[in-house]
Amino acid sequence: MSPRDLPASPSTPSAPLPLSLSDLVVERVGFGLFVLDRDMNVLMWNRFMQDHSGVAAADVIGRPVFERFPDLPRAWLTRKVESVFQLGSFAFSSWEQRPYLFRFDHDRPITGGVDYMQQDCTFMPLMQDREVIAVCVTLSDVTHVSIMQREREDAVARLREYADRDGLTGIANRRYFEGRLADEFARWQRYGGEMSVLLFDLDHFKKINDEFGHVVGDTVLRAMAQRVAQVVRKQDVFGRFGGEEFALLLPCTPLDDALHVAEKIRHTIGDAPVEVQGVVVPVTASVGAAAARPGASDYEVMINEADAALYSAKRQGRNRCVALIHEPS
């Protein structure tokens, strides 16, 4: 049947009413369409709504929409529709704020990971002679959009995690460590209190690499990072500073306590050798400690002082902890 053969809109009510092209479109279109009057009675209900709700047009038209759908957010929906009548303008609802209006199934029940069809709704004023005569609601299935968005958010979270981690040892990398140190230092500058930093370094690591090869060297680094990670407190930040050098940020910790932690770490590393591919590798560490002190302009002063203490520990014969003590001026 070509459009020309379609009868014009019917002038006499004779059953069955011939359908116009727009009627046919509304019937088959791939999103929900229904019309409400000011008392929330349903005036129109398309096939999408019927298929997904299981309620036929004949059973809902002429009745308040809440009669068949008591789960609808009544006050919210009434207010939306009323605002369209009063303002003669559109209203919206997005899945991001309100996941769905109707509890409809979606076509990814197995792989989707969402409970009901996610919906975007538009409330459109139907105007005649500049008056709103009814509100047409369109309902789009945006389940796939919501799934994609969730997948993207997950990917970003994973990337962020990777960006903060050291690839070899899995602990914080230097960029992340320095970021946290800068934050903590700023907090200390504002609120005062105590904070310390440890820098430590595996002794004669170059020799381990040379003697046993890089694979063994890497395994030693990983094993040491794991051992130390198990003894640091939750609030501390433990990171790989580069090569065989590690750093530990100790918030709210005075230098004396930091030295206790330093000793604990030195023992954790040195008390038992690492066994790699049948080879027993003894490892020790030297630790330098420094605390934030008034007058320091930025956190790098602390890092430099801890580095100087570490250097001093190396010079004193390694496998020891040294703190940089400032004489009170």
Partner: protein, 207 residues
């Protein structure tokens, strides 16, 4: 000044149309919210892209970061509506819609939903009323957050825009006796300016 776009007669007419439109919007909003919403006298300006951000700063009186919700509207005359307020004051936007309107909502609204709701109500009322004066019936798109804390300069990305001139209509809202103000700006680009101009002429002829 790019204000040569409109003749003096057209400019006066446009200002009058904006006054009438926003007056109608205020009436409709007061009806909906059951509270008296105070609307400022609308300000109408034609600006070049390069001056658009500065114009927004002058019109809103805001220099710092803002929260902005945008919404497109479309008819022969099309454009975007922005609801703008100072970033720190976004929570107060909800207060504009206090009273019975909010109390009728037993379902909890998230803050974001509330913000979009208020922005949609304000821009819907103003844009519909203004375009109604010009004999146009717009279709709206979903509101979206332009940014939670952006500078007004970031609203326009001059390199990316396909137009040189914009028509800005600004109006701001407050509840009686409240300091907090939300701003609504309608932005219409070149092509739409010509349609506005023609619509004004048609209106003037019909008088």
């Amino acid at each position: 000044m790019p204000d040569r776009v409109f003749t003096e007669l057209q400019r006066d007419a446009l200002q009058e149309i904006a006054n009438l439109g926003m007056g109608q919007a205020a009436t409709r909003l007061s009806g909906l919210l059951n509270a008296f919403i105070e609307l400022s006298v609308p300000r109408v300006r034609v600006v070049a892209v390069s001056e658009a951000a500065q114009a927004l700063r002058e019109m809103t009186g805001i220099d710092g970061p803002v929260t902005a919700v945008r919404q497109g509207f479309r008819s022969e005359i099309k454009g975007e509506a922005l609801v703008i307020c100072r970033s720190g004051e976004i929570a107060e936007l909800g207060a504009l819609i206090g009273g019975p309107y909010a109390q009728s909502t037993r379902d909890a609204l998230t803050e974001q939903e509330l913000v979009f709701d208020v922005a949609n109500v304000l821009s819907g009322a103003c844009v519909s009323s203004m375009l109604d004066q010009l004999g146009r019936l717009p279709v709206f798109s979903q509101p979206g957050l332009l940014g939670g804390a952006i500078m007004l300069d970031e609203v326009f990305q001059p390199g990316m825009l396909a137009w040189d001139l914009a028509l800005l209509v600004e109006v701001n809202f407050a509840l009686e006796d409240q300091r907090f103000r939300a701003h609504l700006v309608m932005l219409m680009a070149e092509e739409s300016i010509h349609h506005v101009s023609r619509a004004i002429d048609a209106l003037l002829h019909s008088l």
